[in-house]
């Protein structure tokens, strides 16, 4: 089947197998490899994207469900090569090790901070409980979120 969708503002149209996930479509048809394939079961959040503004695991969404809808991925987050403040904070706080979970975390954090610019540590942990990181033990990810939240509110 042919899927027509808009990804990071650009129109795309591609022939896909009807059973293909949105993650497979993004990676294999569009060459957008930033969304990762770690569990392919909706448990780890490595493939997190926005579908019409809602945070989803793209491995659990069919490519066909994105028909005529708006998809935003990690590749759409940095503006003309400039890092998003959340991305900067992840590097600065040491929240990246192997980095395989990182794009999914960055997307989930962006979703959180767009909705709640002042999250408490408990809110941060609850919001990110669908993302698994095997390297960091999460402390530096929490630090990165707090750093990014401060900067996005205009603080230093």
């Amino acid at each position: 089947m042919v899927v027509r969708t808009r990804v990071n503002g650009d129109r795309h149209e591609a022939e896909v197998w009807p059973g293909a996930s949105l993650l497979t479509f993004l990676r294999e048809q569009l060459g957008l490899y930033g969304s990762k394939n770690a569990c392919e079961q909706g448990e780890c959040g490595s493939c997190s994207v926005w579908l019409d503004g809602a945070l989803v695991c793209s491995c659990l969404v069919l490519a066909a469900q994105a028909q005529d809808r708006e998809v935003r991925t990690i590749e759409g987050l940095s503006d003309a090569g400039r890092l998003h403040p959340i991305q900067e904070a992840f590097v600065e706080a040491g929240a990246v090790q192997c980095g395989f979970c990182t794009p999914g975390f960055v997307v989930a954090v962006a979703d959180l901070l767009e909705k709640d610019p002042h999250p408490s540590p408990a809110t941060i942990r609850e919001a990110l409980s669908g993302n698994i990181c095997r390297c960091t033990g999460y402390q530096k990810i929490v630090d990165a979120v707090e750093l990014a939240a401060t900067r996005l509110r205009g603080g230093t």
Binding site: N37, Q87, F100, T102, T136
Partner: protein, 729 residues
């Protein structure tokens, strides 16, 4: 004139990761992201039986399916039919027998991954099913079937020290078990094999050790070593899982057969079958002490399940056995260790590598002993703590830093987290919080400590050296240093450490790390807490050679042509153990201690870990942020082993090969980790820095379970501890 040494961005600074920006943007290319025009997709048919004879394989229907370009079985392996890190006993594709459920039997290359997977179902394999050996103790019984012709013992060793029958005032005894843990790196096993014009093959691969893969690949492919070239691709975590070969040989075989690039990338379920796991263990220990707490004797029997093939089991049981007395002065010991073959999935390297299982047992024993003697558990440990000059049960003296006392005292100096009233608490902060199942009516708090240690680099006579090449040149922007090694950055940050070392040694800010491949000498594995000292050491030596030449030419300003040097770093030689386990087996040691504070809902058996504190002997922190990152991450994997992570096996079958069923610690399970770095530089190592990746994983499982025992008063001899164990069902 000497060069200007600027140490900005050098060792000791929390320099940002050199690969951080591509990783946060999603631009970093992992092995599972590789692609080439015209590439095919590989897939693997695996045995559904843990033990069977293959009567026949019929692949005709699969080979004839549209889009399928090759179907290969053992008959198509042109060279050596087996591979393995230590002993080459693992078939590339099963020949006549399968020894574990999940063993590769046939491989397919097709135009599309779905077509490849569908073709697997068209391969007919007739199995004569045999009874599997699935229990490690049963495997030792004379009546047990043999997994391999030579029997079921992979390695057995004993360490006899002093007089093991020496009398003591007080004895404590216990039996302990740990389950099979999965490394669960988030990046799946993946690689891309590209056939080359010279009849050889280039493999782009996520691995921990390019040269060990290379050494195993070339003979199996029937190619001379120079025609098999490995190139590192992005590695999405490893933790030991990528030490053994998974899809490397298969992808190359398919590429060579079809003449087209072939990509293989496992899904999560296949990943559970595609790599080795942490050895499950059963340990018996008996500790004897004088009334004042002085340890007199430790007796131990350790048994680990190596699964179907050898992998690194000999070294794992070597570690578990030589570390079984713990980081204590023990004048008399009898320690025996055995690794067995079973028809369970093969076990091999995972962070902590035998030291984890030993620590779980000896630290439980130390708590038992403290209780029997009426002593404070930390006091008892301090009284017996190893120090520089102490002699280990192997007869090996500790010549380097051994700040066991400092680690324990550091823990004691940390304030405990404040008690929190349960009843008006945010439900998210209760055990089982997100499930909103309890209200904190039956909460009990407990505190546990553990101290342990881990060897750095390879042991028992292995020379795991590392080579580095450094070149300095000057372009329009000034001096630039290029570095090449075969060291793999699995996420731990060796590329950043190397960059810091070059800046420190040469005073050059611009450092380019060339992609690792097999055109340079081995760097050894990114495991055993060894890359900072080994590849770091090689880079330091090469930089010093380059600097000497720059100085000889009259300084950087006089340099007209690039200056380069290659150097190999060897750690001090070690030796094998004799029949009584005496010798000089280990290079160096890193120590660590942990304190865990837990809350247990004794009605529900649910646990909240309130805080983990780790004091760790790091020698010298070359990148403090990265060091604490390793400690925090290692603690999370330790918490996982203590509370939730276990590959569930029933009759040799993995029952939980997914992240839905195999539970990993989430951000809600992990408390804040308080890290205290104990810096006592290690003589003979570059900058005095010890490897930092493993001690927290060694001690945290023991500390968390000790805290659960303290909270509940239960024995809890097995990790992971299940809710049933805590409520006593």
């Amino acid at each position: 004139m000497s060069i200007d040494i600027r140490r900005k961005g050098g060792v000791g600074e929390s320099v940002r990761r050199v690969d951080g920006i591509p990783k946060v943007k999603g631009d970093f290319e992992y092995a599972s992201d590789l692609r080439r025009d015209g590439m095919l997709y590989g897939a693997t048919l695996r045995s559904p039986h843990p033990h069977a004879r293959i009567a026949s394989i019929d692949a005709a229907a699969a080979a004839a399916a549209p889009g399928v370009q090759a179907v290969l079985t053992h008959a198509d392996v042109p060279g050596k039919k087996t591979f393995g890190l230590d002993v080459q006993d693992q078939p590339v594709l099963a020949v006549d027998v399968v020894r574990y459920a999940g063993e590769p039997v046939a491989i397919v290359a097709a135009e599309d991954p779905e077509v490849a997977r569908a073709a697997l179902k068209k391969i007919t394999v007739n199995y004569e099913v045999h009874t599997p050996v699935t229990d490690m103790e049963r495997a030792l019984e004379p009546s047990s079937p043999s997994v391999h012709p030579q029997g079921n013992i992979v390695r057995t060793l004993q360490v006899i020290h002093g007089d093991p029958n020496a009398p003591a005032d007080v004895w404590v005894e216990g039996r302990y078990e740990t389950g099979m843990q999965d490394q669960a790196p988030l990046g799946p096993e993946a690689g891309l094999a590209v056939p080359a014009a010279d009849g050889g093959v280039d493999l782009f691969i996520a691995t921990q050790w390019l040269h060990a893969d290379h050494e195993q690949l070339a003979p199996c492919l029937g190619l001379p070593p120079e025609k098999v070239r490995l190139h590192l691709s992005g590695v999405g975590g490893a933790f030991g899982a990528r030490e053994d070969v998974s899809m490397q040989i298969h992808a190359c075989l398919l590429a060579l057969r079809t003449g087209r690039p072939v990509k293989m990338s496992y899904g999560r379920q296949e990943s559970f079958y595609g790599h080795v796991h942490r050895h499950p263990s059963r340990v018996w220990m008996r500790h004897g002490a004088r009334r004042d707490g002085t340890l007199v004797s430790v007796q131990a029997r350790l048994l680990v399940d190596g699964g179907a093939y050898t992998s690194t089991s000999p070294a794992v049981i070597g570690n578990a056995t030589t570390f079984a007395a713990g980081p204590y002065e023990v004048p008399n010991a009898r320690l025996s260790g055995t690794a067995v073959f079973t028809n369970n999935p093969p076990c091999g390297a995972m962070r902590g590598f035998g030291a984890v299982q030993a620590c779980f047992a000896y630290e439980a024993q130390m708590d038992k002993l403290a209780a029997a003697l009426g002593l404070d558990p930390i006091e008892l440990r301090l009284k017996n703590a190893l120090k520089t000059g102490s002699v280990l049960p192997t007869g090996q003296p500790i010549v380097g830093a051994a700040p066991v006392r400092e680690c324990l005292e550091g823990l004691r100096g940390l304030p405990l987290p404040a008690d929190e009233p349960a009843l008006d608490r945010d439900p998210m902060l209760l055990p089982g919080g997100a499930g909103n199942v309890g209200h904190g009516e039956t909460l009990k708090r407990g505190v546990g400590v553990a101290v342990g240690y881990k060897n750095l680099a390879y042991s028992e006579g292995f020379d795991d050296s590392s080579e580095a090449w450094v070149r300095v040149s000057v372009d329009g922007h000034g001096p630039v240093a290029e570095v090449k090694t075969a060291a793999v950055d699995v996420g731990q940050g060796i590329d950043t450490i190397v960059t810091q070392i070059v800046r420190t040694e040469l005073g050059i800010d611009r450092v380019l790390i060339r992609p690792p491949d097999t055109t340079i000498g081995s760097a050894g594995s990114s495991s055993a807490s060894r890359q900072t000292m080994m590849t770091g050491g090689a880079v330091q030596l090469a930089c010093q050679a380059v600097r000497a030449e720059i100085d000889a030419q009259g300084g950087m300003q006089q340099v007209r042509r690039p200056i380069e040097a290659s150097r190999v770093f060897h750690h001090r030689p070690t030796g094998k153990l004799d029949a009584n386990g005496q010798g000089d087996p280990h290079v160096s040691f890193a120590f660590g201690a942990a304190r865990a504070v837990v809350e247990v809902d004794t009605g529900l058996g649910l646990v909240r870990v309130v805080q983990i504190a780790v004091t760790q002997d790091v020698g010298r922190a070359l990148n403090p942020q990265s060091v604490t990152g390793q400690i925090e991450g290692g603690s999370a994997q330790g918490l996982g082993l203590a509370l939730m992570e276990e590959v569930a096996l029933v009759d040799g079958q993995v029952k939980n090969a997914s992240f839905t069923d195999y539970l990993l610690p989430t951000i809600l399970d992990m408390p804040p980790v308080v890290c205290v770095l104990v810096e006592e530089p290690e003589p003979g190592l570059p900058y005095g820095a010890k490897g930092v990746g493993e001690p927290s994983t060694v001690v945290v499982p023991a500390a968390v379970v000790a805290a659960l025992r303290h909270a509940t008063g239960r024995e809890l001899p097995r990790a992971p501890v299940r809710p049933d164990d805590l409520v006593g069902l």
